[in-house]
């Protein structure tokens, strides 16, 4: 533990950071530039692994593990699955329509990022941003400490998040359910038939001619 904390200062730490940061950025660039989605996914996994390292260098051990388990593990596997299901290469990499606006959007995003970066740069003298990092507590970022925080101060949001995940699971199921289409078709046909019988009640074979009775008959 102590070993890890000391890594945040000094030359070795800087080199480690540079390598990890470089991997992260390169992975990210690969993610958004590759034509083949499989390559993009693999690059993203690489990015996440590198990021997990960066997290570790920030003494965020729990999050680093989570990053690998949840992101690089679960989420990315999901992505891989979907890529496999769909199995389609992109024909053109870049969207065709509205390029002016999209380009302007990218420029605008760059401007905002640049502005933020310059704030950071201009504030580099402040201890918060530019100062050497103080020694964190022994249990900073450990599973135990983060867990304690989650289960005490953030109990309610934690439970809410669990509910959110549940809803997401159910939602995912509902949205991707394949029977839905058939259901819809059936439903539409049924309604059509029903409206037709209502408009021409006499066409109901042997049925009551009164419209009220019709409605009831049609639904049971």
């Amino acid at each position: 533990m102590h070993q890890l904390h000391t890594q945040t200062v000094g030359l070795p730490a800087t080199i480690t950071f540079a390598i990890l940061a470089g991997l992260t950025v390169i992975g990210a660039l690969f993610t958004i530039t590759r034509r083949n989605p499989v390559v993009a996914v693999i690059s993203l996994v690489g990015t996440f692994f590198a990021l997990a390292g960066v997290y570790a260098s920030l003494s965020a051990h729990f999050l680093a593990i989570l990053q690998i388990l949840v992101y690089a593990g679960a989420i990315m596997v999901l992505f891989i699955f979907v890529v496999m299901i769909l199995n389609r290469d992109e024909i053109t990499r870049v969207a065709a329509r509205g390029m002016v606006r999209r380009g302007l959007g990218v420029v605008a995003a760059g401007y905002v990022v640049w502005l933020l970066a310059s704030v950071v740069a201009n504030s580099s003298a402040t201890p918060l941003l530019g100062g050497p990092l103080s020694e964190p507590g022994a249990d900073f970022g450990t599973v135990a400490s983060v867990g304690a925080s989650l289960f005490t101060d953030f109990m309610f949001p934690f439970e809410a998040v669990s509910l959110l995940l549940l809803v997401a699971v159910v939602g995912g199921l509902v949205v991707s359910r394949s029977e839905k289409q058939e259901d819809d078709a059936e439903e539409t046909a049924r309604r059509r038939a029903q409206v037709a019988t209502e408009i021409r009640p006499e066409s109901m074979v042997g049925g009551p001619t009164d419209a009220t009775a019709n409605h009831e008959a049609a639904h049971h």
């Binding site: 969207a95 509205g98 606006r101 959007g105 420029v107 605008a108 995003a109 502005l115 310059s118 201009n122």
Partner: protein, 738 residues
């Protein structure tokens, strides 16, 4: 004094309700038993009220019965209350008595009808409404009955709804009545506005006292009372078929004949006369209104009588005769002879009901046809009907001793003797009297024509019809005989005893005196002259008709028709008044409505006012659609641009549009503070007073002092920097140093 007067209208209503709800389940016997029982009991209760309870309460305004407070608001208080005095009592008796007879008659007449229960339900409903009309203590309650009878008339005229003509006639009756009701409503409002009450005793009391609200001069120099009376008379004219609203009554003959007898001869159509008599005090306040009532009455009397000359439908002749007789009644009440008007109402109820029921009996015999050109010689084949018709005919012609003679005579004599019109309108009385005498002549003529064409000579019907002619059953003949007795002798109740020095012989006049005031005093000479004249007129009419039509169409009749074909045709077409109304009122109204619908609703409002603004908005909408293409990425790009714009604006250092420069000689003071100060940000200011690129003053102070070396025009350049965001704003301003 209180008496359960509510029972009187309630009984027929109960009968109607039972028959309407369950009538179809009952057998015919039960149906007419219930109906006759309902109205018959109502007659007994009315008689009880009139003969036993009323005399005691006669002087104090009669019997009074408050059911409940109907509605009230502010000064307006209307009770659902009934009042029976002599006038409404007489009316009640007429309605329930003749009503009962006609119910019994209908049991025979309608015996082949499919919708038996519905017919009797309507009859009962009508009687109830009519009783409310006459018993109502206030104008709104009267109005309930007023509209109620209109409704029943509508329903009964259109009883055989399968024929469009019947339905049309019913609708015409209702709508024409509604025109009258419009006047009735306005009259009510005027009276309320003037007297603050709608109770008829209250109004009459105010009128007798000459209340300021009523006598004050209003529009067109007439007192309020005039307008109130006039508007109410519009209502009366609608209900009682007076010029110009009489057109519905002849059409109303489309209904079953007992209905014509009950509603369109004996009771409902006399409601207007009743109302004028009831509000007599109000009318007496305005001689002009009285004159209008009398003149309209007289004009209607003669006009309708002339139309009666050329009608060939049995019931149509009687219908115009009714219109004409109602004109007599209005002339009576209009000349202040309220008692005489009501007297004629009463005798007319008997003889006209008798005539109509005879018509029903004749048409019954003639297989439903009412065409008098196809009749003749029926006297031998249906003797009882003939006898009854004979009596009633003499009564309406005004042959002495028969009832019509006394009542008609009283009206004519009253017209000559009246003083209610005052000096300036004194011509009205004699004119009305003369016109009425002429109308009586016409009446005598066309009624005799009817009699001769139907009952004398040879039968002109085809063989098939002749074969079927038969006398009506007892339940029809019985009521006829009773009515004939009434028509023959009923006039004695209003015997002009004054002629023999015995005022008290005039029983009706005596009864009505507390309500409508004492009978007009008619000088002997006038009375005797008028009697002689009207007797002469009756006989002249009869003999003239006999010369034309005795035993069938005679040569003089043909000769007359040939000599004036245009006039005869005009009369046969009822002076084409219906066509006139249709052309000038109904069709324009429809045309204008349709035009308004198309132009105002469809074009002006929906197109110009709604769709044009909508189209303008639509143009903007289509322009804005470029932003809303359904492509989330482009939305996001727009969003990013927006964020950048906000960042750009928010991070610019706050600066004024122009900084403040104070010049004193060659020294300047510059203040570059923003409008809202520094907004909590640390800012750096670079002042370059000569705009030469060298910063003259710098620091965090927004103000600076500088002394120029010489005069001239300089440009001051201030650069405001925000060190945190690394942004800056540059402002420049020219100064002239003198």
């Amino acid at each position: 004094m209180s008496f359960s007067l509510r029972l009187i209208p309630l009984l027929p209503f109960a009968g109607a309700t039972v028959l309407l709800l369950f009538g179809r389940a009952f057998s015919r016997q039960w149906v007419h038993l219930i109906a006759c029982l309902a109205i018959g009991t109502a007659f007994l209760v009315s008689a009880d009220a009139f003969f036993t309870a009323l005399p005691a309460a006669h002087e104090s305004g009669g019997l009074h019965d408050i059911v409940w407070a109907w509605f009230a608001s502010g000064d307006l208080k209307v009770d659902l209350a009934f009042r029976m005095d002599a006038l409404s009592g007489v009316m009640c008796l007429i309605i329930t008595f003749i009503g009962t007879l006609i119910h019994i008659y209908s049991a025979g007449y309608m015996s082949h009808e499919k919708d038996y229960a519905r017919f009797f339900a309507y009859l009962n409903l009508f009687c109830g409404a009519m009783l409310i009309l006459v018993l109502g203590d206030s104008l709104p309650v009267m109005f309930v009955g007023w509209e109620g009878v209109g409704l029943c008339s509508y329903l009964l005229i259109g009883f055989w709804y399968g024929q469009t003509a019947n339905a049309n006639a019913g609708k015409k009756a209702f709508i024409t009545n509604r025109i009258g009701d419009f006047g009735f409503l306005l009259g009510m409002f005027l009276l309320f506005s003037a007297t603050n009450t709608l109770d008829m005793p209250g109004i009459n009391a105010a009128a007798k006292a000459g209340a300021a609200g009523l006598t004050e001069i209003s529009w067109m120099g007439q007192p309020v009372a005039f307008w109130a009376a006039l508007f109410l008379f519009v209502g009366a004219a609608g209900k009682s078929a007076q010029i110009p609203l009489y057109v519905w009554l002849p059409d109303a003959m489309a209904g079953p004949t007992p209905v014509s007898a009950l509603i369109h001869a004996a009771t409902m159509v006399t409601a207007g006369v009743y109302m004028v008599a009831r509000l007599g005090a109000l009318y007496l306040l305005s001689p002009a209104a009285m004159a209008i009532v009398a003149l309209v009455g007289a004009a209607t009397a003669i006009f309708a009588a002339i139309i009666g000359f050329a009608q060939n439908d049995f019931k149509k002749v009687l219908a115009y005769s009714t219109v004409s007789q109602l004109g007599f009644m209005f002339a009576g009440v209009g000349t202040g002879a309220f008692g005489s008007g009501v007297f004629h109402l009463y005798t007319h109820a008997f003889f006209k009901a008798g005539l109509f029921l005879c018509a029903g009996s004749v048409m019954h015999a003639m297989s439903g046809s009412g065409d008098i050109t196809k009749m003749g010689g029926l006297g031998r084949k249906i003797p009882w009907t003939h006898r009854v018709f004979f009596v009633c005919w003499l009564a309406i012609c005004g042959v002495p001793i028969f009832s019509g003679f006394f009542s008609k005579d009283a009206i004519v004599a009253g017209a000559f003797a009246t003083h209610v019109f005052g000096e300036s309108l004194s011509w009205v009385g004699p004119v009305v009297g003369t016109v009425l005498l002429l109308a009586a002549l016409c009446t005598s003529f066309y009624m005799s024509r009817l009699y001769f064409l139907v009952f004398s000579g040879e039968c002109r019907a085809d063989h098939e019809t002749q074969h079927h002619i038969h006398e009506s059953p007892i339940e029809m003949v019985g009521p006829l005989v009773v009515l004939a007795v009434g028509a023959g002798l009923g006039g004695l109740i209003g015997f002009p005893g004054g002629l023999f020095g015995h005022e008290e012989w005039n029983l009706l006049g005596h009864w009505l005196e507390p309500v409508v005031g004492p009978e007009l005093h008619i000088p002997h000479a006038v009375e005797v002259t008028v009697m002689a004249a009207s007797t002469a007129v009756a006989f002249v009419g009869i003999f003239l008709a006999r010369a034309f039509f005795g035993g069938g169409y005679r040569e003089p009749a043909h000769q007359f028709a040939r000599s004036m074909p245009g006039f005869v045709a005009l009369v046969r077409d009822k002076f084409r008044v219906d066509e006139l109304y249709n052309f000038f009122i109904v069709r324009p109204l429809r045309f204008v409505s349709r035009g308004l619908f198309v132009i105002v609703d469809r074009i002006v409002i929906d197109k110009a006012m709604v769709e044009v603004p909508a189209a303008i908005v639509g143009v903007f909408g289509r322009a804005a659609r470029w932003f809303q293409a359904g492509d989330a990425q482009r939305y996001l790009a727009t969003f990013a641009i927006g964020v950048a714009a906000i960042f750009y604006l928010a991070t610019r250092p706050p600066a004024p549009d122009a900084f403040k420069v104070t010049i004193q000689g060659t020294a300047v003071d510059v203040d570059a503070r923003g409008v809202a100060g520094t907004a909590g940000r640390t800012l750096l200011y670079d002042f370059d007073f000569e705009a030469d690129g060298t910063v003259d003053r710098k620091g965090s102070s927004p103000t600076a002092h500088f002394v120029y070396e010489g005069t001239g025009t300089y440009v001051i350049r201030v650069t405001i920097k925000d060190p945190r965001w690394g942004t800056s704003t540059r402002l420049e301003q020219k100064v002239r140093i003198q």
